[in-house]
Symmetry: C2
Subunit: 317 residues, 2 copies
């Protein structure tokens, strides 16, 4: 495995041919923005490419896609963007594992599976790394490239809200806005951060109604049991992205969402508001994740799950 810098990556991209671009399963704004901006940049150099993902691109990201779809071709070069682990290729893992020529990423946890790695662990988003690569390549930005890069940086930082936001995130965003003043960034942000489906709103209402407070309000637990979901017409998918609801009350340090998957089996999502390491707590239960966002699975009764979670979190507070 060779580590590459921005200039070497730019040079490599200028000389590649017939590229398959891989993004991760359950695609988000950053990997979609990375993949489709890279395709647009390569197209300007006359290099054909396809963006491949094991899951469909959610319709709300439709504005990032290209109208022109390349037909099938055998790849001469495989590039993964925003993918820390080959497992995240999903159903494409079998085809592409061990065959990635270049990975461009910002996850410090990257498993270094590719022949060449352009990794910036301090960057807010893969799109922030790619912004620099494209500038080094000297290709002019198009409106589509600008929307891709903006969306990637905005979504991975919660609209410039989280601790991964860097001065460069803001500077690159400003430069994109100056170059493309007519893009409706406010409407992109509305779509990404404000809009919810009626199902999600129903799920949010149910979850807010069923929030429990512990440890003088420093811990919250939201229970989404099968009975409760059925009674309110809420399905599992509607609850995705709502795992940080429990961090909203003032004074909360750790917010826990418990979703009953099957009777007696609970999927736990744990979020930290400040400095409690929830990854360490979840590891005790055989799970893991990031310092501020982790998960695990527990079995038993509601009462036994509650006792286990509270004793572990209270010990960490």
């Amino acid at each position: 495995m060779t580590r590459m810098n921005i200039e070497e990556t730019a040079e490599y991209l200028k000389n590649c041919r017939d590229v398959h671009i891989l993004i991760h399963r359950s695609p988000d704004g950053d990997c979609i923005g990375s993949g489709y901006s890279l395709q647009a940049v390569l197209r300007q150099l006359g290099i054909r490419s396809r963006v491949l993902c094991s899951d469909p691109i959610p319709p709300r990201f439709g504005y990032l896609l290209s109208d022109e779809e390349e037909e099938h071709f055998e790849p001469q070069c495989v590039i993964a963007v925003d993918v820390a682990d080959e497992k995240l290729f999903g159903t494409l893992e079998e085809t592409y594992a061990g065959k990635v020529d270049l990975c461009i990423d910002h996850h410090i946890s990257n498993l270094q599976y590719a022949d060449r790695l352009m990794l910036e662990g301090d960057a807010s988003a893969a799109c922030e790394v790619l912004y620099k690569v494209y500038r080094a390549m000297g290709v002019p930005f198009t409106r589509q490239i600008a929307m891709c890069l903006y969306t990637g940086m905005a979504t991975d930082t919660g609209c410039f809200k989280y601790s991964n936001t860097t001065p460069e995130t803001h500077i690159f965003t400003a430069q994109i806005m100056r170059e493309f003043p007519d893009i409706r960034y406010d409407l992109i942000n509305r779509e990404m951060f404000t809009v919810k489906s009626r199902g999600q709103l129903a799920a949010e209402t149910v979850m807010l109604q069923n929030m429990e407070y512990f440890a003088e309000g420093r811990i919250t637990i939201i229970w989404a049991t099968l009975d409760l979901c059925r009674a309110n017409g809420v399905d599992e998918k509607d609850m995705e992205g709502l795992t940080s609801l429990g961090l909203q009350p003032e004074g909360v340090e750790v917010g826990i969402t418990v979703r009953e998957r099957e009777p007696g089996e609970y999927k736990i999502s744990m979020r930290s508001a400040r400095d409690v390491n929830v990854s360490a707590i979840c590891q005790v239960f055989g799970g893991g994740g990031h310092v501020k966002a982790a998960g695990c699975t527990l079995c038993g009764t509601i009462e036994s799950v509650r006792v286990q979670l509270l004793s572990a979190v209270e010990a960490a507070l």
Copy 2:
């Protein structure tokens, strides 16, 4: 009234003495950040000042205040920051109306009541204007000044989300972050945008439960009647800041929140997701406001209020 530019304002501030700094009633992050950063800047030049507001500063803005409190003194100079209209001085209007020497603002609607006006209608926040003034003055930034300016720009733009965000908003933010990398911007943002009191969460739950959809989902109405609020222990104050809840469902163009103030009297808040001018709609009912956020008062029954609102909004769609 004299219009001043950045340099003239900087020069004026360097030469003022014994300053009363006025901010608007119901103070928000931008006027508080403006007022207390200006006090800190003047203090560095040996100029004493006091920040005056008709309402108390909400505790969550406590980190922006100065530890040193000046004793009472007669002002030689009165400066208003982020105040578009002398009416917004609240109880201080009587004392200070017609006596403002300088107003620094970003509201295009500024009524030009001050002797001197430094107005940038395109700036996202008064703090964005002040950033430039302080740089022109050449005073070094302190940690407190940095937190004030960041908070003002972040809060007035919904954390860089709204259409008033400019490239300069991002550039100035990046420069502040570079100069003060140790400030926990993520915790400021959590406090400003994520944290809610239990009362606010209860209000939000009640409002979500009582959302009505009209015009194929393009209009929402949330009813907060006296009965409903009493039954759920929600008070008027808890509902402030929740007037944009009705814009969350996908496809919504106009979100209306109706709060019953007294039996049969309704305070209407109207929010626009995209391009419908809700100020024009509210003007029909004797109200007004901004293009995307306006209000009015209606009297009658729930049914008659609903009919009036829907016919006016449907005509505008």
